[in-house]
Point group: D2
């Protein structure tokens, strides 16, 4: 219970809103909706994002944990409204009973006893990641205060593989921002797009690989003393939206190493990370 | 992370809303705002409740975890709007710099480095308990499905002590509802009210004792095998709003014993609790 | 998983040994079996302790986490041998089938499906507390490095109540060490002893109350920002062997506030607690 | 704290013993040292295992949690003696001050303030995995009761890659047992051995890949409702000794789905996994 940076998310894809509570931020960090919205906008620009991405411009409303633009140390509460919720309510909907392959539809129904597939897919939706991107944005912002940069990019889609080895590590994330496949190798990005269009016509899906990186980290994150303190153990286990997840996990690790500051003091943090 | 019934709360006393996320409910439980609002109304009726209690009638808006009136097993998200938030925003406010004795005001400022006492008292406010009462209401409702009843009452205020021993255990909670001091001994309630009025004029405060009880519990809650599995260890440690806290903790314990059902099936639960 | 000072205990009353692992100590703290054994000896001197207490002189063997008399930051492992284990193995034992009132005997059998009461009472035995006393000793020792003192004493046994109010808070724990009832009021101790002898002849038991106190604590332990960070919430819930439990819990809280030091540096700790 | 199958390990490479406590096993499972020792022996037979592996034949002494060959539901305590501990104590040892690349030596010293590299490498040693293999053996044994089989094998060492795709999934783990590289492709195993010998002469090291698999798992492990309940999230994050770690994690997941049985009843478990 003493963990720093615990979080819970809630909300369905077509419910009124997505919600997230992040408990354990220090007091004194400048924070605003704009900082979060910038990352939510990035999320909406990826290739293959549903049509819905285009119509909704996500906005993170801060409902707790920030006063006069500065964190107070109290839990941060974020709400992201689902703009088409009203429209959805109006529609008469027949029960949805054909489970899609590769989705949680069937497993959800079996496990939770639903009569309709909808409760499963409403929560297992890509839309749910917006809440985690919002929290990742806050953690990226926290890490940025003392010089840690987080980035990520696509390495492969199906059998199409980017040549990332020939691109310096420091440039990959920025290059990836230049196309909607978020691939630093622009030639590979074109081939990936073609491959995705092809597979969509065959009504199938493709796997892929992403890499997420952090720069400027202090030495000594994690520890060898117990299996669950190893940095690898703490970073593993959550591959979806990998760079925002990395931001959350690194913020937690850095923060822990930085001695659970309750007051945010960038100078002290920088000093702690540099001269530790 | 496998814990059932984890929860986080957020929100400030004069912020836009109080929020709560409860993760780990089973699917299939009938749930509505009305069930929660009934307990929020009880909370607002206690003697000594601030004037504000009278003007706001709390309403729990369910933002996630319930579809067509039934829980889905996804996290339950509740928002309780702060009705006077708008008014508050309009007021010009001078920094509040005189810490009140017996409050977190000073400790909060020292620990979190605030320049104003407000961020501490906005979160340490009695208003925050509304979020926990809302979650307690959900847990009471869950427990009620298989015959567990939760109640609580005031035993003493300052040196005024109720004669609860002469009232049967089963009747105390119901009797306590008949006065705004929530004391089952009506004569003591009158003396308590007088004592509170007296102390208020002296600009001081009084302590007190409450008891919270659960009826109809299955045998075997908790365990002797490890120190933190003992029921006493699991119930201890949170005395404020004791009966709603008891509901949350017992729901967690009962639920755990009932084998972490993902589908809510009252018959199975009753069977499990009775014949285990 | 990032929690400091997690611990698990294991071992049965008549098994080969009691074991405890404490994960999260800082490196650089001087530690030896003697420090722990002193508290184990105190545990064995209480009135009403079984005859066994007299025959066994407990010794904490340190099996991990300490090199050349100093903690390394790795998990601390302690083993306390059960000296009469061998004798026990030799005895032919009939199944024990009469549950004692006020013990876990019956509940254990119902919950874990034993055919014999022994597995329940072997683990629910008072002997198990030796493992927790050992860990409490380590935590007391850690706290003592920066001036925190932990103590405890008996306030009442059955209807016999000590007059503790007339004894200064600072003197109570030391006075309590002067009699085997650990009661600071020596007259009350005599009455308590008589009352216990009387109830034993009636083959019944008595309840009681103890108080545990900590001196020299830094201000700011716990926090108002979330319900489970409140100091009261974190200290509650474990009343047996209350002063050693208090030591463990306070060490955790102090340690957390002191920013999870990985290297033990008393000067830094004192500075942190004083000028924070 | 309600988590099933929590565990802590302790002990140094040349200390008296390695220790592990596993909390949360059901009562009624047959368990003996032999079951664990069989997996400890497998661990000692791998190619490249240090000379020490040959001289020590590990034995898991069960110190708690098992009575008359059957688990009681109380924490399982295991001790694995370090046979050369005595010899080690006798040796005069100079401080070890040259950190090895690719090891925790330097990071440990920087983080924990050691004057000697030994405290870091004593805990970060491959020897420490014996404790986790012992717990993995218990979990494999638990899973086997209801038909779940766990296996693992080497896929690549450096640039040498086994052709696993041509070997049926069910046969890989058994084939891997036939050589000390634990590679199901025997030709690749020969090439891997040659490559390792070559790199050792160059005083360098190689990376590699392993795969761990589980057969016979019940459907519905993990859940979509919250990010940290996803099976992938729960399995990720611990790659060393992957098949024993997989056994522990799957046992936890299966066990959780099987409703935290306190009494072990294979029939009930099989029924639960099959007809859920």
């Amino acid at each position: 219970m003493e963990n720093r940076l615990r979080y819970l998310t809630a909300g369905e894809s077509h419910g009124p809103a997505l919600l997230a509570i992040l408990e354990g931020l220090p007091a004194g960090l400048t924070l605003s909706s704009e900082i979060i919205d910038a990352e939510l906008a990035r999320r909406q620009k990826g290739y293959g994002a549903g049509r819905r991405m285009k119509i909704e411009k996500d906005h993170a409303q801060i409902l707790g944990g920030v006063m006069e633009g500065v964190t107070t140390g109290a839990p941060l509460a974020i709400s992201i409204a689902n703009l088409d919720h009203e429209k959805w309510l109006a529609k008469p909907v027949a029960a949805f009973t054909t489970p899609r392959p590769g989705h949680v539809d069937l497993a959800g129904v079996v496990k939770y006893g639903y009569n309709d597939l909808r409760p499963a897919l409403e929560r297992a939706s890509a839309r749910e990641t917006a809440a985690r991107v919002a929290l990742g944005a806050v953690c990226k912002h926290l890490l940025a205060q003392f010089g840690v940069q987080i980035g990520g990019y696509v390495v492969s889609i199906g059998e199409v593989r980017a040549d990332v080895a020939s691109i310096p590590l420091e440039e990959r994330a920025a290059l990836a921002e230049q196309n909607d496949l978020r691939c630093p190798d622009s030639a590979a990005a074109i081939a990936m797009r073609a491959r995705i269009q092809q597979i969509m016509q065959a009504r199938d899906t493709l796997g892929g690989e992403i890499e997420a990186i952090g720069f400027g980290l202090p030495p000594g994150l994690g520890s060898h003393v117990h299996w669950d303190r190893r940095l690898e153990a703490r970073l593993g286990g959550n591959k979806f939206k990998a760079n925002t997840i990395l931001a959350i996990k690194l913020a937690r690790a850095v923060y822990f190493m930085l001695k659970n500051q309750t007051v945010f003091d960038p100078e002290q943090l920088v000093r702690a990370t540099t001269h530790k």
